[in-house]
């Protein structure tokens, strides 16, 4: 296995209804910033790949447009996944492991405000039994939240406390637009969005873009004094039908963590793709995170769900804290599908 590290990360906005440009214009700046931070240009990059979704863009082959921002000269290997950018990063990691390239630029792009996320998400559900009923993501997540509460694994109050803690962190994050954090008491006074979920315990969908640069071996050391080495990375999937799963657990996340070598590891921080407060409870249990692991120091996705970039941002935020020396070992998690169906886990480490 080659040593491969995240050497750079940049993101843009994560705010609802960003109207300063189109999707291409949203992506240009974080690509510039991620490259500038390590003194590279687009021409230095050997492999590019991204994660985005045509249904969000309202346009077929929208990723081809995004290539304008990635830069296509000189001609190089390029790829794309119709998934969160975290899975594009996985593909790039495999490509680097195979020795096809020594560096890679990965982008995730979510201009969610163009369409209606609650309607578009329905298309990701079972097309015979669930989608015709208009099962939107909040409703499906709320059903999972109640299974946890009924099982005594959390309470509505506990969910409000999680949301309040993440808001307190999000206020300090310049890449999340939030003026003031709410207290758990204030959150408990919010009306239900889909009971038992409220606005603050469910994800706020935003527009955003994220870019990560990977490099292998000596190239990584050359670009960063302290790269965030990917010690393990894996992704696994649970069954799609909602009614056949134990919704209080997330076996695929645990399996991915185990195979990434993150299970039982002493972790300083964990960046979790928990778009709902209760998903954090499920993941904390499934991943065996201890109280000494700080969860979502960035504020997490609750106020910044830039769909298709959210998972890649988790990898970037975790790596950023390792590169800055704030953390030694971090877990980054990304998720796809209803009720945490599909999960990716990476173990990141500083040092050599």
């Amino acid at each position: 296995m080659r040593d491969i590290a995240i050497v750079s990360f940049a993101q843009r906005c994560n705010q609802p209804d960003w109207r300063e440009g189109n999707d291409i214009e949203l992506l240009i700046e974080p690509i510039n910033q991620a490259l500038d931070a390590v003194g590279l240009t687009r021409q230095d990059i050997q492999f590019t790949t991204g994660g985005s979704n045509d249904f969000l863009a309202g346009q077929a082959f929208s990723f081809v447009r995004a290539l304008d921002a990635v830069g296509v000269h000189p001609v190089r290997d390029d790829s794309h996944v119709e998934m969160d950018g975290a899975w594009a990063l996985y593909e790039a990691w495999v490509n680097l492991q195979l020795g096809h390239a020594d560096n890679a630029l990965i982008w995730g792009l979510g201009k969610t405000s163009l369409g209606k996320m609650d309607e578009l998400s329905i298309l990701s559900m079972d097309p015979y039994y669930v989608a015709p009923l208009g099962a939107d993501p909040d409703s499906v997540a709320a059903i999972q939240a109640r299974t946890l509460i009924d099982a005594g694994k959390c309470s509505e109050r506990a969910l409000a406390e999680i949301a309040a803690a993440r808001q307190a962190a999000a206020v300090k994050n310049p890449f999340i637009s939030l003026d003031a954090a709410k207290s758990a008491e204030q959150i408990m006074e919010e009306p239900y969005l889909a009971s038992p979920l409220r606005a603050s315990t469910a994800a706020r969908v935003t527009d955003g873009a994220a870019v990560v640069i990977l490099a292998a071996g000596d190239e990584a050391k050359k670009l960063r004094d302290r790269p965030a080495w990917i010690r393990g990375i894996d992704h696994r999937t649970d069954a799609h039908p909602l009614g056949v799963r134990d919704l209080t657990d997330c076996p695929s996340a645990r399996q991915a963590a185990e195979r990434a070598g993150a299970l039982g590891s002493k972790l300083d921080i964990a960046e979790l793709h928990s778009a709902y407060a209760h998903e954090e409870v499920i993941l904390r249990n499934a991943l065996g995170l201890s109280d000494s692991t700080e969860i979502n120091p960035s504020g997490g996705p609750l106020l910044a769900n830039s769909v298709m970039a959210t998972g890649l941002i988790r990898l970037g935020e975790a790596a950023q804290r390792i590169m800055s020396g704030e953390a030694e070992r971090a877990l980054a998690h990304a998720s796809h599908g209803p009720c945490l169906q599909s999960n990716l886990v990476a173990l990141l480490e500083g040092g050599n």
Binding site: H73, Y128, Y129, P132, A135, S139, R146, A194, P196, P241
Partner: protein, 319 residues
């Protein structure tokens, strides 16, 4: 920044396969079928595979039309795509004889009537069409029967359950943002001007999408181009398409507008289609003044401008 409403319509037709088809057709007989899994338990609704072992499943089992709510959420403000237009619950329901949760709506009237473990029963729709919505919703087990008799509605062309299919159109709406560069370009079209954007590479793009495709950097300044250009690629269209305004065959071309570094796609008129050629010099013909909007349809087409052909050696990189 310009933006425009955009309707997306997907005229999907779903083919179900034998297992899902048998389940949906049985709903027309007011029966609910499950399927026996590898471990002997019964899954409702049935899938043709075991979600744990991935084994192929085939043994259909009739289950009850009553069951128990295992989890639920109250939807106080239903969305347009929800099955009910009044407050209702989405729930997982374990039907009698089944061991899995069936996702559906519960029409309970009030959130206070909902609880985990409550008994519910199927409320059949007035018309049974072999679709998941033949179950209009579930209702509390003690709810009175409806004041209608459900009737079976056959499809126009009868087909057996194993070849069951139905229309499943999906419509949704967007508000598409043109972006900075495209807004500049579209505003130019309204004034019958071809305005491109120059990027850091020095290249001028028309239409401009936002980035300098050569460098990937943001486009910087608007550049008004002339109305003339050169045909650098073309094809003759012989296929009629819906909404086609002009007669086939006709020529569509990539035109290198004078001063631009990429090409604009437009129709060629004013010349027999068989005479359209590489290097042909053309000029822009605009729509009538009263038809001008913020749209590419302002460019009606290009016609020959009478200038001698541009030597191919000068446009080599675009051919």
């Amino acid at each position: 920044m310009l933006s425009e409403p955009w309707r997306f319509y997907f005229p999907y037709t779903r083919t179900t396969g034998p297992v899902v088809g048998e389940f949906l057709c049985a709903l027309q007989d007011r029966k609910v079928l499950g399927i026996r899994r590898t471990d002997g338990s019964v899954m409702v609704p049935p899938h043709p595979f075991d979600p744990v072992t991935s084994e192929t499943l085939s043994q259909m089992v009739e289950v009850g039309t009553e069951g128990r709510v295992t989890s639920w959420t109250w939807i106080a403000k239903p969305l347009p795509k929800h099955p009910l237009d009044r407050p209702f619950a989405f729930a997982l329901i374990e039907l009698d004889g089944a061991e899995t949760g069936f996702f559906h709506a519960v029409d309970a009237g009030d959130e206070n009537k909902m609880s985990t473990g409550m008994r519910v029963k199927v409320r059949w729709a007035p018309e049974l069409r072999g679709h998941i919505s033949d179950i209009a919703s579930f209702v509390p087990a003690d709810a009175p029967e409806p004041d209608y008799e459900s009737v079976r509605v056959e499809p126009e062309r009868p087909r057996p359950p194993e070849r069951w299919r139905y229309d499943a159109p999906f419509e949704t709406h967007y508000e598409i943002l043109a972006g900075k560069s495209m807004s500049t370009y579209l505003r130019g079209l309204k004034d019958k001007k071809l305005i491109g954007m120059r990027g850091p590479s020095g290249n001028v793009y028309i239409p401009p999408h936002g980035a300098d495709a050569t460098t990937g950097l943001a486009l910087q300044e608007p550049v008004e181009l002339g109305q003339n250009g050169t045909v650098v690629r073309y094809c003759i269209v012989n296929i009629p398409i819906r909404g086609q305004q002009i007669e086939i065959p006709f020529a569509a071309a990539n035109i290198l507008v004078d001063g631009a570094d990429n090409t604009l796609m437009a129709l060629i008129q004013g010349i027999p289609h068989e005479e359209v050629r590489l290097g042909l010099r053309v000029k822009c013909v605009w729509a009538d003044d009263e038809e001008l909007g913020l749209s590419e349809s302002n460019i009606k087409w290009f016609v020959p401008n009478g200038e001698p052909d541009q030597p191919l050696s000068e446009i080599e990189g675009y051919l």
